[in-house]
Subunit: 122 residues, 2 copies
DNA sequence: CGGTATCCGGCAGGATACTG
DNA sequence: CAGTATCCTGCCGGATACCG
């Protein structure tokens, strides 16, 4: 498949300052980072399993986002068994490389809005 | 202002697995991480200056995103001078705390789509 | 179980023109 | 310079119903 997913803008080529734009183009949606987070923590998941792990997501949104993540080679989908029908979504290498990014999101989020976030002057 | 911006969903409260959702709610848009990236690299900027640093953004999008980032206490806006009219956007402490996250985005982006990204087997 | 089809609303964001 | 106003588009995503 393509080295450069269509989701990354055409004008965004190589320049160092473009890398954030490129990343934001692939992950900058409501659910994508959360999906990657759950796959990092739980390993490969089935569809409904993933749905259960993500509070508030609708089946359609999950389906669409998984499809795009697959196109962008962040997630890999494989059929595990035919009867009963079982599918598994797992991170690719590229997807696993997102771990530091997701960890940074977790930390920033819980530092500022989490259970033990310190107010202005603790 | 509010500890928990409205943009973070109501059901997202404290639980550790919510921190990614919370962060995605605040930054998970097309331009926000890019804006933070530019402010990190260039320091405080005026409006047009920032517009020039961000390839492809429209004035309206920049205006809207800055307003939201300000509401979420990630960016601070201050009027520098009245004649000529000058404004400056700078990161708050909370905004500066995003640096590791933005750095992770830069690194993932340039590793996978950047000028010197290695193909599958270098 | 693992989705797709359809309908539908909202909002993000582009273009352009205009203001103080 | 630093925006706002308006118009208009497309996509995102929720709800629901249905399929193999």
């Amino acid at each position: 498949m393509s080295e450069r997913p269509d989701r990354i803008p055409e004008w965004c080529r190589g320049e160092e300052w473009c890398s954030v734009t490129a990343t934001a183009s692939l992950l900058g949606r409501k659910w994508k980072p959360v999906i990657v987070d759950r796959l990092l923590k739980n390993g490969a998941c089935g569809f409904s399993e993933l749905e259960g792990l993500i509070n508030g997501i609708s089946g359609k949104a999950l389906s669409n986002n998984l499809k795009e993540l697959e196109e962008d080679e962040i997630v890999n989908r494989s059929v595990i068994s035919e009867r009963p029908y079982r599918v598994e979504y797992a991170l690719t290498d590229r997807g696993r490389d997102l771990e530091p990014l997701i960890v940074a999101m977790r930390e920033w989020g819980s530092a500022h809005f989490g259970p033990d976030s310190k107010k202005d002057n603790p």
